[in-house]
């Protein structure tokens, strides 16, 4: 598959503090790529470097084969960026907010209404942005990005601070955009979000990559204990080794109808991250 974003040995320091320390990865076309890390790990700095908002000290950062440090305004228009700190015009309605950018991007009125519909703000189109809840504002920012129909979307913690229902709506929308062949670069500190959405993830901590791969691959890689968790019909759970030594016992439980459910016990991304860094992701 075609490489859309390429990062090679990216280094960035602010004063004496090295924020990004030799990050290398690539994002393929049509993927949802997740950049995971705790707050302050360097996720936003990296997204700013990749989108040309910030210069790097060392390394290579390319989007569609173009050096991100040399992106022109016209290049910028080819990808949509949603950053948490990007503002909205508070006195203007949702529709008016999008109308400004529709004019810039040459989007017709139908496109505005369609974007509002996709993010569930159709009924709030006349509501001023100042009256929107945090979740609705996030959706408005997202509508601004998807309205432009860019092939690459950079979404910086799009569900941060949102209620589960709103976050779920945004997840569905991201998956719908992926279905259309869009590439999504997502930063998050929510491991369940990454597990649910991402094809490929990079975990960073203190500016360094600590793990890279698909969520399933990573979890499997750290499945040192290899256990089976069996929920029995009497309501209790038992754990057995996930190898030949337990085969007979498992077969017996199934034969006797005692086993209600059987699960392998791979670690989730949260536990992998804790194992790698000694820190929780969602901090």
């Amino acid at each position: 598959m075609e490489k859309i974003i390429a990062a090679d040995n990216i280094v960035k320091s602010f004063g004496n503090k090295r924020v990004l320390d030799g990050l290398s990865f690539s994002v393929l076309k049509g993927q949802i790529f997740g950049l995971l890390g705790p707050s302050g790990a360097g996720k936003t700095t990296l997204i700013k470097i990749l989108t040309g908002q910030l210069t790097r000290d060392l390394g290579i950062a390319e989007i569609n084969g173009l050096d991100s440090a040399k992106l022109t305004g016209e290049d910028n228009k080819k990808f949509g960026i949603m950053m948490d700190n990007f503002g909205v015009y508070e006195r203007l309605s949702c529709y008016e907010n999008l109308k400004i950018f529709a004019k810039i991007y040459g989007v017709k009125n139908d496109g505005i209404l369609n974007a509002l519909k996709k993010v569930g703000l159709e009924d709030a189109k006349k509501t001023s942005a100042a009256k929107l809840s945090k979740g609705m504002r996030s959706r408005l920012r997202l509508a601004r990005v998807i309205m432009t129909d860019s092939d690459i979307l950079f979404l910086d913690e799009p569900t941060s601070g949102l209620d589960p229902a709103t976050a779920d709506e945004i997840h569905k929308m991201m998956l719908a955009e992926k279905e259309k062949g869009k590439t999504i670069f997502l930063t998050t500190h929510t491991m369940s979000e990454a597990e649910k959405l991402c094809d490929d993830i990079v975990m960073i901590n203190e500016g360094k990559i600590v793990e890279h791969g698909s969520p399933k691959e990573i979890c499997r890689r750290y499945n040192h204990k290899r256990m089976l968790k069996i929920h029995l019909s009497d309501g209790s759970d038992i754990r057995l080794a996930h190898d030949e030594s337990s085969a007979e016992e498992v077969a017996e439980l199934i034969k006797n109808g005692c086993a209600e459910t059987i699960h392998t016990t791979e670690p989730n991304l949260e536990t992998v991250f804790m194992e790698l860094t000694g820190k929780e992701l969602a901090i």
Binding site: T51, Q53, T72, G73, E74, N76, K77, I81, N85, F86, G87, V88, Y89, E90, R91, L92, E96, K99, I100, F101, K103, I104, Y105, G106, S128, R144
Partner: protein, 230 residues
């Protein structure tokens, strides 16, 4: 052109709902209408309040609006979104500047009607107001560029606006202030407006305004070079 148009429309929609900016365009023209029609004192120069408020309008409205709009966009991070959407800094400045200019010209029209200017008088009044508005916009843009947020912009704008807006009025009562006022453009705007039908345009008027203009442009260039628009 479409970027300029988009930012212009944004500003138009936004200002209609932004009382603090909108009032700047209305305050002095409305005050001139009220005072001109309600206060008649013998020996008071003809259309005294029109001339007084026109000068204060030039020194205040374009300057405060320009700095407030830029500073708010910087604070709310909407300017960054525009820049990331391929709106060039010059396109932004032109759009905002044009919008404020048009709004100020509406006020100027009110003053011209109240002052009953016609023919030659109008040919002097309108260009004088235009020069003053543009110069104040440049100074407002410098303040907006230098300010990180609206609070910083306000604390810079108020003293500067007081100088350009009130010094021409105060110079009528104090000789020392009058000496200082001679070097600022708003005093020359005041002299030119008060001299309509009385005195010709002097070399001093033109030189002081030109020097103020050059200083404004240089300050704008330095501010832009040092801080950029964002």
């Amino acid at each position: 052109m479409k970027n300029i148009k988009a930012v212009f429309i944004k500003q138009l929609l936004d200002t209609l709902k932004n009382k603090t900016v909108f009032i700047q365009f209305l305050m002095f023209p409305v005050m001139a209408i009220i005072m001109e029609n309600s206060i008649k004192i013998e020996e008071m120069p003809e259309h005294f309040f029109v001339k007084l408020f026109a000068v204060m309008f030039v020194g205040m409205a374009p300057l405060t609006c320009m700095s407030a709009i830029i500073a708010e966009e910087k604070e709310k991070n909407t300017l960054r979104v525009l820049m990331m959407s391929n709106v060039k800094p010059w396109q932004y400045i032109i759009s905002i500047g044009t919008y404020i200019f048009i709004m100020c010209m509406v006020g100027t029209t009110v003053f011209a009607i109240l002052g009953e200017y016609n023919g030659k008088e109008l040919a002097r009044f309108i260009p004088t107001m235009i020069l003053g508005i543009i110069l104040s916009e440049i100074i407002g843009a410098v303040i907006g560029i230098f300010s990180r947020n609206q609070m910083a912009a306000t604390s810079l704008t108020i003293p500067i606006m007081m100088i350009f807006s009130f010094v021409p009025m105060l110079s009528m009562f104090n000789e020392s202030i009058k000496k200082f006022a001679g070097i600022i453009y708003s005093q020359q705007i005041s002299d030119l407006i008060n001299g309509i039908g009385v005195s010709e345009v002097s070399a001093k008027n033109i030189i002081v305004i030109a020097v103020n203009f050059i200083v404004g442009i240089v300050l704008f260039a330095l501010a832009y070079k040092k801080k950029g628009l964002e």
